[in-house]
Symmetry: C2
Subunit: 429 residues, 2 copies
């Protein structure tokens, strides 16, 4: 762990620097796979699945009997836990629904804004050792509430051609339309171009390794949009003597176990707390099954002492953390003033895990400083806002002249004509 005391403001950028990643080598692989999927559809998808996942899949779509079997394998406790999480996530995202905004901006000029669902969305869920079924909840629930017509899910099969039962259970619980056994670059390519079996979608959501990340980025060149740019997961905690060092340490470790490149930062106005947290980390770390991963992330972590909350806030805003835990004697100060953070966890009894799974907030959040300009996934991520306007004859009379003047000043005569013709007709009547 790197302990830093009262860093000079001129060094903040350097201290808070995230490791940059370049994926240039991967791009050519992605392009090749995309080209083949575009040309050969399912057969290319199956070929790559055999190559990368080591299994030949004849039927890419998961069948109902596979889902039924899986559901029976899962413990009742876990099913109930997933159902509880689903309920909370549903309640929170349902509350984000908005009604159309309608205004008569001038007499006879009615403008309104409405959010309508993105018709076709694709969710990517990584497989492997950690089956991220919780991410299905985070993506499928708002997609369904938004009213997306088609919600498909791609996830890689294991060596036997199966999908983890918790993934199948959760996907079915959330009403996913179709589940495909396909992962990696080929999954993103299939959803970008469409194949005989797999629907082309308008927007792709979900986490993934570096190959998936580059593939999603590449998909945006083919009229598909994506949830947000990806980067390693991050947690920044601000804590003082009112925090519990063992809780703080456990939260830092829960972030650290995600991957060796996880970003873990503690900012504190208490030197005592920093020492206690360090001790606690050492105690807790040894007991973790993912110790070797967490150890590496912790080695790169930063424990930063600053003299007061004001300085802490400025430093945190410069970083823009994905996850931000606040456990101080003045939490309201941070909550009221933080400008850049993905999701904020307040107080000693709000671990990041709560938001990762079951509090109701979304866990798909902006990393890599993107909290400065990106929202985390929310209901609006599955809609687009459209505007409407209707002018009555009175309306065009009221604003027509202003339009004519502005169009002329911009040198756009035909724009002006479209108004003049209408005004002339009304003058004649």
């Amino acid at each position: 762990m790197n302990k830093i005391e009262n860093p000079d403001r001129s060094t903040w950028a350097e201290i808070l620097k995230r490791p940059t990643q370049t994926y240039d080598q991967i791009e050519s692989t992605v392009l090749e796979i995309f080209d083949n999927i575009k040309s050969y559809g399912d057969s290319a998808v199956k070929q790559y699945t055999e190559k990368f996942d080591g299994i030949l899949i004849n039927n890419l779509e998961v069948q109902q009997d596979e889902i039924n079997t899986s559901v029976n394998e899962l413990s009742q406790d876990l099913k109930e836990a997933i159902e509880l999480a689903k309920k909370n996530i549903e309640v929170f995202h349902q509350a984000q629904k908005t009604t159309p905004v309608s205004v008569e901006t001038a007499p006879g000029v009615i403008c309104w804004q409405e959010k309508r669902p993105i018709q076709k969305v694709g969710l990517y869920i990584p497989g492997g050792t950690a089956p991220l079924f919780s991410t299905i909840l985070m993506l499928a629930i708002p997609a369904k509430i938004a009213g997306c017509k088609e919600v498909v899910l791609c996830t890689p099969p294991d060596k036997n051609g199966n999908i983890n039962p918790a993934i199948l259970f959760t996907a079915q619980l959330c009403g996913i339309d179709k589940i495909y056994k396909v992962g990696g670059i080929q999954a993103i390519g299939a959803m970008t171009f469409g194949t005989e079996s797999i629907s082309k979608v308008y927007k792709i959501f979900g986490p993934g390794n570096q190959f998936v990340t580059v593939a999603k980025q590449m998909a945006t060149k083919y009229n598909v949009s994506i949830d947000m740019p990806a980067g390693p997961s991050e947690l920044l905690i601000v804590a003082d003597d009112t925090a519990d060092a063992s809780f703080v340490a456990s939260d830092l470790l829960s972030q650290a176990e995600h991957g060796v490149d996880s970003q873990v930062i503690l900012v504190s106005t208490s030197k005592g707390l920093i020492v206690s947290v360090e001790d606690e980390i050492n105690t807790q770390l040894v007991q973790l099954p993912r110790k070797s991963i967490a150890e590496k992330a912790i080695a790169n972590s930063k424990l930063i002492y600053v003299k007061d909350h004001k300085t802490a806030l400025e430093l945190i805003d410069e970083y823009g953390p994905e996850h931000f835990i606040v456990a101080t004697n003045d939490n309201a100060f941070y909550v009221d003033n933080i400008a850049n953070a993905g999701s904020v966890f307040i107080g000693n009894y709000t671990p990041e895990s709560a938001g990762d799974y079951a509090s109701g907030t979304n866990h798909t959040l902006p990393t890599n400083g993107y909290a400065k300009q990106y929202s985390g996934v929310n209901l609006d991520s599955f809609t687009k806002s459209m505007t409407f306007q209707e002018l009555s004859p009175e309306g065009i009379k009221n604003i027509g002249n202003a339009i004519e003047l502005m169009a002329e000043a911009e040198g756009l005569q035909a724009h002006k004509n479209a108004v003049t013709l209408r005004l002339n007709k009304l003058a004649k009547n």
Copy 2:
């Protein structure tokens, strides 16, 4: 004009195809300019301005006395027109403000969502023959309502080092913090990296030529976001015998005068209307100052006859027009059911020009089919949504067990520990 009757569904994709553009050659130019701006700041910006705009600018920032002089040059009529447009745009975007969404998802688990402003935004306004001061209204007004702390504007100087008076007037009227005399790739580079004079921003908005388009795309590789992907402007009109052919023609021409690559489509259930519109276009076209541009766009335009409104709607949804004018005997059918469009103009007295300038809606809209998944610029474009959560001891007791089960099932023991430690502590008390 290309007349198409009752096209078979299998040909829709081909008929509605937009010309694809590849900008690979421009990328290396953009990279070189970006690199130099990153290394040499203002001096590189000035060098490129001299090279591309033919003028050496000593002071990149526009000074107050230049603004004052410009303001005096502008006619009172035009100022009042701009002020009227500003008022309408303000009213409509102000109405888009939302209040935090707060829910107790389970007893003791409070989650809320708040939109907070993006702190620093940059607006790009092209110069040249058509000074797009209207775009300043569309971008600066929502930025100010959202509460963005820093709103800067870049626009290229003319050969004498001046900025069009209407641009300066509008920028000042909207309360832009700083106006810089810099255009093209160098403007986007300067806002991406920051220079001695020009602020680095988090998000860049605004239209531009192909160089600006590629530069904006490139900026996204450096932790900057952009309003949306760019493409040539588009208008699709659906009209039947209840429409006025001269109005329809004038609207098609107002789109066509934007550029030779503008997309212009008429869909109609009336063969008679198609003939009348064609005649009207020929009559109106000859009188336009931008005739040569409009002529080329019109030559590529499409007049499509379909048998009924239902077919028309499906075809239009497959296209996803940026601007969509509805002038039929059943406008409600289109308004209620259209899934993919940027902005919708309803009835005979609602020309596209209205939304371009003064109705109140935003004219920065998704082109190139992106209406399928992107919103036009709106108040939310200048904010990001953040989530907050606070669990009481009761709250963690209520959902803690579910979190533990799910974390364990995902193989993330440290995530579970963060909850277990807290539950244990509460059990002891």
